[in-house]
């Protein structure tokens, strides 16, 4: 069984001088934000109080673990997000709080705008009933019956309320509400940020809203326009979980989990339409996420399963959990190039998975109900946990942390392999002839084994170090798209990647910028991590490039996928999904141009 065992834990527990703060909240109602614009990221959380007869919520701001500010919210929020709405400096984050049918916007912790989602259509018959009700008391029972015949969920709140009242109360209710509008609003049940463009630090974002009527809306938070409207699926369902990946301008995927266990995918092209069912499971979901790296979908279910699906709904793997999963969270450890999945189980255990392998776990005093991960304060990898007993824990990733599979299956596999080796056919190695020089050398090596090995290693590392340095210097010094070498004709290199993967085509355009010199003897060399991309032909000799006539060459690049689960390797991240392109002149060690082409994420092939 996996335990954190004898090695030092991967997480450092933060404690305070004073008492740990108490908090009642949900993962969606916590956010990290540089609210004061001082570079110190603070924790924001809605503290929901259900104890009084009227439930209320307060928005709290913590600096580290110290409560610094709080204010009453006008309702119980469904979600809180911190986002940037424009590029103006200094960048000021905006806090969006979704409450019932509205999103409240705060800047510097002061509310400045309230956006309300559009009202839903009301049945003509219902409107007609409300026109007649005040003026035709005699027909009232018939009118009420016709209201009852309409679908209850599609009635306005006013009509729903009317039907619930007793005979005596109806009279006065009708007279007081006779002229009020027959309006119907959905409630926002989930909200996520969607970056507008690329993923540089703190890019401006849009907000994705999911309502309980199944509408998925994207709100542009500068002019407060809806820039995307779609429905979860063709019929009415209630979303409960939401996960978003991609960027608004290029392409994005919105994943919606419903209360019935259905999971629907909406894309940019789905605007005005409805989402596609990816898969449906019989038991309700407790967590749903789309992972940023390989675009797979992970869910946790009431039946104690952690499952991973492809975007086409194929079950890639599943893990049976020991207890009910309560909430899940993805943690991107950029410095390791991995994304972990944290699963909080009933009872207080929090487990960390790297794909299907358990790599770490710890236990806190009671079941964790909410989790948040990201940069907090001045530290990059901070995990905040809030338990069902309202305790808050803050854990910081140790700088020396390691995540390795602890699965007993792995050790079992290696054991059987070792066993096979022992009783299998061990071929006898050929020994060299024993000349006197060899014998002397052997004796020397035996006596000074440690020193010999040591000096060999030192020299080897020195060589590798020198080689690596020289390579990096050579590449860095020509990291542009236009060559700067004065003795040659200036050349320009442009790259374009086509295809959705796993097979891509990389088109390179080489252009001679000189007006009279010919660029000859050029070679293009591609280099990529062998674990991530396979390049059939990684070198091409180019014909002479004439001034003004661009030359186009193309290469096939195939993304490496795990043969079993068709996933890209875990070491592939957005940062290292690159192919280095070097333009060399034959006979010259230093490249004319070295550039890195970022590769798009590969669709899995099934």
């Amino acid at each position: 069984m996996a335990t954190s065992g004898t090695t030092a834990p991967n997480w450092l527990n933060v404690d305070t001088e004073d008492e740990m703060p108490k908090l009642t909240t949900l993962s969606s109602c916590m956010a990290l934000s540089d609210v004061q614009c001082d570079g110190y990221v603070r924790l924001l959380a809605a503290d929901i109080s259900l104890e009084d007869d009227e439930p209320s919520a307060r928005l709290k701001v913590f600096r580290g673990l110290r409560l610094k500010q709080e204010q009453l919210l006008p309702g119980i929020p469904a979600a809180i997000e911190s986002l940037y709405i424009d590029e103006t400096e200094p960048k000021t984050p905006v806090i969006a709080v979704a409450i019932a049918e509205s999103v409240l916007f705060f800047r510097h912790m002061k509310p400045y705008f309230k956006f309300t989602i559009p009202a839903l259509e009301v049945d003509d018959l219902e409107l007609e009933v409300w026109r007649q009700l005040p003026v035709m008391p005699t027909k009232r029972d018939a009118l009420l019956d016709s209201l009852r015949n309409l679908e209850h969920a599609k009635l306005s709140r006013k009509s729903q309320k009317l039907l619930q009242l007793s005979e005596e109360e109806r009279e006065s209710f009708i007279s007081t509400h006779a002229d009020s509008p027959v309006g119907r609003h959905g409630n926002i049940v989930a909200m996520c940020c969607l970056k507008r463009v690329s993923s540089d630090a703190n890019p401006p974002s849009h907000l994705v809203l999911a309502t309980d009527t199944g509408d998925i809306l994207i709100l542009e938070p500068q002019g407060f326009n809806l820039v995307y409207q779609a429905r979860t699926c063709a019929y009415e369902t209630t979303p409960s979980l939401l996960s978003v990946q991609g960027t608004f301008e290029t392409d994005f995927s919105i994943l919606v989990g419903t209360r019935n266990g259905g999971v629907y995918l909406l894309r940019k092209s789905t605007n005005e339409g409805h989402g596609q069912e990816v898969f449906k499971i019989s038991s309700p979901l407790t967590g749903l996420l789309m992972l940023p790296i390989d675009q797979t979908i992970v869910v946790t279910t009431m039946e104690h399963f952690y499952q991973c699906y492809s975007k086409r709904g194929k079950l890639l793997y599943q893990v049976q959990l020991n207890a009910l999963p309560v909430c899940i969270l993805s943690l991107t450890l950029s410095h390791f190039g991995i994304t972990l999945l944290a699963i909080a189980l009933q009872g207080g255990v929090v487990q960390f998975y790297l794909q299907r392998y358990l790599v770490d776990e710890f236990v806190v005093s009671s079941t964790v109900a909410a989790m948040l991960y990201g940069r907090m304060g001045m530290e990059d990898h901070v995990l905040t946990l809030v338990t069902q007993e309202n305790q808050m824990f803050v854990k910081i990733l140790r700088r020396l942390a390691r995540f390795e599979p602890k699965s007993s299956a792995l050790s079992l596999a290696s054991k059987t392999a070792a066993g096979r080796k022992k009783n299998g056919d061990v071929s006898i190695l050929d020994k060299p002839k024993k000349s006197s020089i060899f014998v002397e050398q052997a004796v020397r090596e035996k006596q000074h084994a440690k020193a010999t090995y040591g000096s060999f290693q030192v020299e080897l590392w020195r060589l590798r170090h020198t080689a690596a340095r020289a390579t990096i210097d050579a590449i860095n010094s020509s990291e542009t798209s236009i060559s700067g070498d004065l003795t040659h004709a200036p050349v320009k290199l442009a790259a374009e990647v086509c295809g959705t993967g796993p097979a891509f085509r990389l088109y390179l355009t080489v252009q001679n910028l000189s007006s009279f010199k010919m660029a000859s003897n050029l070679v293009v060399l591609l280099h990529a991590d062998r674990r991530h991309y396979t390049i059939q032909q990684s070198m091409a000799r180019l014909p002479s490039v004439l001034p003004g006539v661009p030359l186009r060459v193309d290469f096939e690049v195939v993304a490496v996928l795990d043969p079993i689960d068709k996933l890209p390797p875990a070491t592939l991240t957005l940062d290292n999904a690159q192919i280095r392109v070097m333009l060399l002149k034959s006979g010259q060690a230093k490249p004319l141009i070295a550039a890195a082409v970022s590769m798009p994420q590969s669709e899995a092939a099934f």
């Binding site: 450092l12 933060v14 404690d15 580290g64 990898h381 910081i396």
Partner: protein, 201 residues
Amino acid sequence: MGMLHNLADLLKIKKDKMTILVLGLNNSGKSTIVNHFKKSNEQSAIMVPTVGFEQQQFYSMGVTIKAIDMSGATRYRNLWETRFKTCQGIIYVIDSSDYMRFVVVKDELEALLQHPDLMNRNIPILFYGNKSDCEDALSSVKIAAALGLENIKEKPWHICSSNAVSGEGLEEGVQWLVQHIRYAMLNSHDGAKLKAHSKNK
């Protein structure tokens, strides 16, 4: 008169014979402290930002001061750890207002003390409880307790509060460090050789 002037003077050592490392988490105030030293020496500064981990280096009166950011960049760890071998003194800067990260400061300090290149050497460590002017700042006594400094037995250490912006407290710390580097060098084999060298002059 600059602080480092007397440092080199007192030690009477050959130029570039001595290195002081300024360590600490990002944002603790290392650059500000190093800049302060620079100012007081009126020397042209050499700034050497290297790839991956921030390093500021400046050389003055025979003393090289190197500031190294122990920020999250784990992959550069071995790079900055190579500097341990050649240093004679360590300044460990702590942001005394960032209580949340004390646990990281402590963890890093433990790793530092257990590093093979430092473990069995008599290197003085000066702790600056920096940003003492901030409202949430902890006193140096509390910092020492939180970090368990009393457990450091094999190395001389000293903690003082500082305000790197105004320069308050920096002088006191450096004086202590100077003395202890001198003791350490005189006691060690290296120190004996050095002494002989200066006598010959």
